[in-house]
Symmetry: C2
Amino acid sequence: MLLKRTHTCGELNGSHVGEQVTLNGWVNIRRDLGGVIFIDLRDRYGLTQVVFSPQDDEAAHLAADELRNEFVIGVSGKVQQRDPENINPKMKTGEIEVRVHALHIYSRAKTPPFEIKDDIQTNEETRLKYRYLDLRRAPLQQNLMLRSEVYRSTRNYFCENNFAEVETPVLMRSTPEGARDYLVPSRVNPGKFYALPQSPQIYKQTLMISGMDRYFQIVKCFRDEDLRADRQPEFTQIDVEMSFVDEESIYSMAEGLMARMLKDAMGKDISTPFPRMSYQHAIETYGSDKPDTRFDLTFRDLSEIVKDSEFRVFSKTVAEGGKVVGFVAPGYGSLGRGIMDRLTKRVQQEIGAGGLIYIKNNPNELYSSVSKFVSEETTRNMAEAAGAAEGDLVLILAGKAPLVYQQLGDLRLMFAKEYGLIDEQQTNFLWVTDFPLFEYSEEDGRYYAMHHPFTSPNPEDVPLMETEPGKVRARAYDLVLNGSEIGGGSIRIHDFETQQKMFRMLGIEDEEAREKFGFLLEAFQYGAPPHGGIAFGLDRIVMLLAGAKSLRDVIAFPKNQRAQSTMDNCPDSVETRQLDELYIQLKPILK
Amino acid sequence: MLLKRTHTCGELNGSHVGEQVTLNGWVNIRRDLGGVIFIDLRDRYGLTQVVFSPQDDEAAHLAADELRNEFVIGVSGKVQQRDPENINPKMKTGEIEVRVHALHIYSRAKTPPFEIKDDIQTNEETRLKYRYLDLRRAPLQQNLMLRSEVYRSTRNYFCENNFAEVETPVLMRSTPEGARDYLVPSRVNPGKFYALPQSPQIYKQTLMISGMDRYFQIVKCFRDEDLRADRQPEFTQIDVEMSFVDEESIYSMAEGLMARMLKDAMGKDISTPFPRMSYQHAIETYGSDKPDTRFDLTFRDLSEIVKDSEFRVFSKTVAEGGKVVGFVAPGYGSLGRGIMDRLTKRVQQEIGAGGLIYIKNNPNELYSSVSKFVSEETTRNMAEAAGAAEGDLVLILAGKAPLVYQQLGDLRLMFAKEYGLIDEQQTNFLWVTDFPLFEYSEEDGRYYAMHHPFTSPNPEDVPLMETEPGKVRARAYDLVLNGSEIGGGSIRIHDFETQQKMFRMLGIEDEEAREKFGFLLEAFQYGAPPHGGIAFGLDRIVMLLAGAKSLRDVIAFPKNQRAQSTMDNCPDSVETRQLDELYIQLKPILK
């Protein structure tokens, strides 16, 4: 039997008083007052107080006696204005209540392992096992609704701008560059395997070569990596590619998308275009390729000033090509010795720097933590070069570049968090540009593509490709929001010769390139347009917009850090018959 | 260098005459006329004639000499009205041409393995290998654009109706019911496997239990089945689930979706609600659970009339519980003996029936193909009972039910196609309802769920579940368009006891059920709403709307019938190192 609802639990207000209505939902809270049963009935849309009184309907009141939290019921009744003293202005439906004359119980409920309320302390393991209960909580439902709105906004934006949404294959070829692939054995092709896409990169470039002109897709991608707190084996990308474009076309497309998304999903207006910063500037000024620009604390290079210092830590570092860099913490000159000692310890333990040097530029005292070794004059010069005003603190690290930048960047974040310098209301977008094309791995003694092997070099730097690969800039860009990378892309190579040169630079020999990427190389010979694109991390964007602490809070059914779903016990063993059909077996030790 | 386009190749018309424009695209056709080079420049949006004349620009004309088909170029020039005799009314841009004064060649092209034109005879193998070239052809691009519009229309419809779009996992648990799973070995959990979803069934039901109320998703699903012409290993579903609903809610939601989709994607108005037909009626009247109602040729049961016939084929069939059924082909009484002999042979060879019996009800002759055995009176009675008018042909089969219905259904389709009785302009939607809950497998000696084990029985038939399972009707429904199933769903079981009974009926023992579906059974005990849903086959819908002959023509990168993508040589062998990491190995014979 179905008592078909006439309204949701978030809908009724004073204008409905006197109407006969039917509601469906979950018993959220039950109270008994003087022989009358009050229930807050809950659905995705809100809560409504429904009342079972023997005066209204004796049978319904009797039946309601059985109701407990999380029972699923249908009720029919009359909307009634609440007494003035009972009006709840915090509740959308707080003006009214429904006096029930018919009740149907759809489903009874055992006592859940944790209470369904906004704020719970239950450990995440239990919440993931009973995900269907956790998802009843309003904060998670709101996250999923926000996510749904982000999909919608994204798609509307792209459709209105003439992009074609195209689905690319999930069963694709394994190309062991980049991260580790998830493999799928083929039954029809014994001994062969598909891979799940780490990105639809190859396909979207193929679509450009086929003339699809403007492509987008919201698409699942997969990486079999060891999971950190903020990683999932499967993640969702907003994937975009455009033909006949340069960087400017991509920037303005992406800025339009972000503006639209924040407007639709958050009602927030943001200003475009976004500021831009070169990779090199980002590293040397913020110690990060994804600077959080919601606060200042930017770096100054003090190396020139201290290169001849009697203090060996300074002079040796500079002599060996390292850097002495610092930033000003305005007004923190008064921090006491105990605090500074603890900060120094954290810098050593959490950031891994050798030590922290600091100067307090106080009205009556220029204090330096290395005053034993550094002259007052040099200290004064350093404070001045760092831009310290009276009362300011200067924090300084010395070491090899680029490591010292990264460490000072970590310190910058640590300090800002510790002292609440981050304005959480800001929405700071930033383009980081001019990434290096290659990064050198000391361990492997070879260059790797910093983005991927299809990224176009900056034409000005092409002559350096064979002589000074480390100096070649890529036509690559990242989009950063409040210090998190939320997107990255590049203008791609679209000609055979450059692509082949790139593969060779990466130690991918001609034959290997032909085998792995042969069709793309061949495709370049049948007329390829200049093209470029970007991919946005949808999970992270939603997490940032929702103010959530974990990706798991914006994914309906996430995996835990062992890549398991404990709710449905996945992954699990399978029958030998299934493996036989796939022509594989477990390695003997595991049988 | 980028000559940034000001317009697409489908945009310019008389109103642009005199403007300086820049176009980008592919050389579609090149003609030389009296020292002037004419190029049709192509992009996704259309074709524009661009002209290189030494009078306009000598350098550009000289550079254009090199251009061949499929070169990718940018041109700048002036829009000029064509001479009246050169206006091409079939071309969107046929009024104008662009007189070029600057040319940039982005990419040269070898001669492609087949010509890029609408209608080609090239075999599909070659087209799939060079998919990036095949996708340059307008019919395929139009299919992909139609598909993109279907996505858009679908999503707008659901969002406007308060549905939440939720992504469900691709890496899930293997549940060896139904079709064969694609498996994915887990590296982090040695010896264990994920499966790719055959459908997000379990997750969408979980979302209902979690109170998400209305869910939709356009989602990839996977089945490792032997591929028929119209199957793909991965396919796309429009997946929907709703809480607190009955069949009527699903029907009207689906009808609204279809109306919206046909309006948005095809500009077509259709009328709702759709007609409905019970499974039993569909089988007995059309010989199919997905009747094509664009033409009549409906069946009449002649068993009663012939049960006492001296003709053993009739009387024995009926005595043994079989059926004698036929349909009238109006006006085909004049088909000659040769034609009828060929039809009989096809019925035997292609449909597998023992033989075809027919009656020609012609003005001066009542002819029966079995007149030797059947009296004229019986023949006349049969013709009458079949509803034959003068000049009509009656086609009759006798045999076991339900096989004979299916065979006559195949004959019905064969005849309609042969004689062009199908009105291709019609868009006939139909609900098929009241499917059996179970079907019996003679081979396995057990019942299987006709839809899936989560389908709710019709409450009226629950008492029959243990006594006459074959008679239990399910609360299941299919949506049929022009004789193709495009969607199917059901009202689900939402209580523990019924679900457990269902598992037992299917021979899934308690322990097995607990292991495979345990969390769902448990979830039912924490308050589950009545719910139901449907899944639509998006690939097939787009194929039908596009009038395409194959699913491969509406999928950007399809697999061939060996589940391979020849373009990128997938699936392929992988490195032993990769298998080692996954704790699997090939079976020895394949090493």
